[in-house]
Symmetry: C2
């Protein structure tokens, strides 16, 4: 194993009804004034918002609200909420929603302690301080509930970019699998694709692969495959819902990246360009890209693709493993071809250009030249 | 998955030479006056102590030392060190050694902030406060480097008992696999048995078994088996040493106990009586007990023993799985029969009596009556 530092201070409160205690958890950390961010009005109609808010009131925590955060969350909304947090003198941001909502909360928490523009952080300015972050996560996918990252789209420049900082670990994340039972079939399968993408990026690209880490990743992928199938058969299977949620958290809380040296996130890099230009659901973009990228990349790491085929699908060849993943995506109903995403040829050109620019900024353009990116997208047709 | 809380705040610094930076890590947490505890003089002869101490001096951290901590660490030594920490007005305890040393450090950290006797905590008195705990771990086995527990033997009453408290999580644990390369062949295989015991206790006894957790446990056991064999063939295999060390940490840092409901540690309960009465190495006691206990217990949970056989050893029946584990212990050279431990019949009587008392105190005597414990030990012959 290569050297590593691991320090994940997020506290997870997992279980039915735990959102009722969010006020008490926040109180333990000294929160007194919160900005609550959420997405659609469904969290109000369902009674979820009220259950959480009552818990805050019981603990004497004052709060204001900022709703309307969309998937592929945008910078203008973050800026608006940063101003609200500053005006309110909030000491904490509480997200009630999925990964988009929580990622916005993280950016807001950083922006609210900074006199400049929050986008500066996405261009490399260090984050000096951040409000405390809490969340009730309603969609298992991004893993944001137990990590230090956030992804935001700058809709003016059409850049989808990320920040990472120790200050952005949530203090407490509530995972109540029952809340996730209302997720649509569509978003369930997109989430499955997203979790698998989080699992395979480093698995295929890392310079070092300790077997103990490989086993964690493969276990996670197998868990996602099993539990997705159970949930498609019975959306109310609470055990499967819980395991699916925990697989999402484990896929990106740092444990699967320990001791592996350098690695890349190429599928995410390419997909971020897709959803920045066309606003496709992140998981749908990933399920289109992954089999194409795997096919294109396999020659760089052939033994690893053979291992993937064997351990995840009990198959013998690299190509069979890739085909099995695509077939599984088809089976569960997440897109595997660009044509399913209604992206025009003109938009595709723009996506390729955008991705090539990102690759250049990250010094990944030796491997991900514009021509290479075109080749990968050609394989998605 | 059953409800759970998970919050493991320990920072891991993993890699060759990381012990040199312990002073800097401690400084980050504000440590100024440390009690350093260690076991044998080997940590001085090897230069390890000096490397760590120099790092403390560079950061202006003052310290005193307390050496001579033995495996199966004893209360009288802890009491002596508690007094030293009080007299020195230490703000932190730094362990340079294995799990016994670190467990002592945890008990010392709690005792130094308490006017009564440290053994009170082992009898149920809540721990009000504790000094900061840091460690350089030189033997992978107990998992103490990333958990909140400590086990100490009261040599007067011949009780080996444990404390658990959030205050006992180390702030920073250094795992340098190279330091563990000097561990004797004997202690390597005892450690392997200990890690496997940590893995199987909850695996066989928990009321709920999410598959994602099962997979983590089985991956850990397989990793221990693989890396132990590599290390027996080549003690300098640093990759295997690192994975072995990380498997030890993962086996008992809480992750494999999430969502599983209630569970027991029967093999540890019985072994603690063995080493309290006879001072046998903990891992050696466990490798004798485990196959016997598994044989005795399997009827309580037959499907699980079949799964163990299949997933860990690719075998079909519960009995084959148990035999395979015993055979593997024999192969690596850790004892599997009571006769190998030089325990007299009189001592065995005492062990059984001691274990029966413990079972009673923990309300486990419905299953672990004195007769049942005798039956289990009979199977170790």
């Amino acid at each position: 194993m290569y050297p590593f530092s691991f320090h994940n201070p997020t506290r997870i409160e997992f279980g039915v009804d735990k959102e009722r205690f969010m006020g008490a958890y926040m109180r333990e950390y000294g929160a007194k004034r919160a900005l609550i961010v959420y997405g659609s009005e469904r969290v109000k109609q369902s009674g979820l918002f009220a259950r959480v808010a009552n818990g805050l009131r019981e603990q004497g925590i004052e709060f204001i609200e900022c709703g309307g955060i969309k998937s592929n969350p945008i910078l203008s909304k973050v800026r608006e909420a940063v101003q609200m947090a500053k005006d309110f003198k909030a000491d904490s941001v509480l997200s009630i929603g999925g990964g988009s909502c929580l990622d916005s909360a993280k950016a807001i928490a950083a922006g609210a302690c900074y006199s400049g523009d929050v986008w500066d952080f996405f261009k490399g300015t260090p984050i000096p301080q951040a409000l405390m972050i809490f969340d009730v996560i309603t969609l298992a996918a991004t893993g944001s509930e137990m990590n230090w990252g956030a992804v935001i789209t700058n809709e003016e420049t059409r850049q989808k970019d990320s920040i990472h900082d120790r200050l952005l670990f949530p203090k407490v994340s509530v995972i109540n699998p029952q809340l996730q039972a209302t997720v649509s079939r569509e978003y369930l399968v997109y989430s499955a694709a997203d979790i698998i993408a989080h699992s395979i990026e480093a698995y295929f690209t890392a310079e070092n692969r300790p077997q103990i880490i490989d086993g964690l990743v493969e276990n996670n992928i197998k868990s996602v495959i099993q539990t997705t199938e159970k949930l498609l058969a019975d959306p109310d299977d609470l055990d499967a819902r819980g395991e699916f949620a925990w697989a999402a958290t484990l896929a990106l809380n740092g444990l699967t990246h320990l001791g592996i040296g350098k690695y890349q996130f190429p599928n995410h890099m390419l997909e971020h360009s897709m959803s920045a230009i066309c606003d496709v659901p992140h998981g749908a973009g990933l399920s289109v890209l992954m089999p194409a990228w795997m096919h294109w990349y396999q020659a760089h790491n052939p033994q690893r693709f053979i291992r993937f085929a064997r351990e995840v699908f009990a198959l013998d060849s690299a190509e069979q493993g890739i085909q099995a993943l695509r077939a599984w995506f088809d089976k569960i109903g997440t897109p595997t071809r660009l044509s399913q995403l209604n992206i025009t040829d003109a938009q595709l050109e723009e996506i390729i250009e955008n991705a090539a620019q990102t690759a250049k900024q990250r010094n990944l353009d030796v491997l991900y030249s514009k021509a290479a990116i075109s080749d990968i997208f050609a394989l998605t047709r």
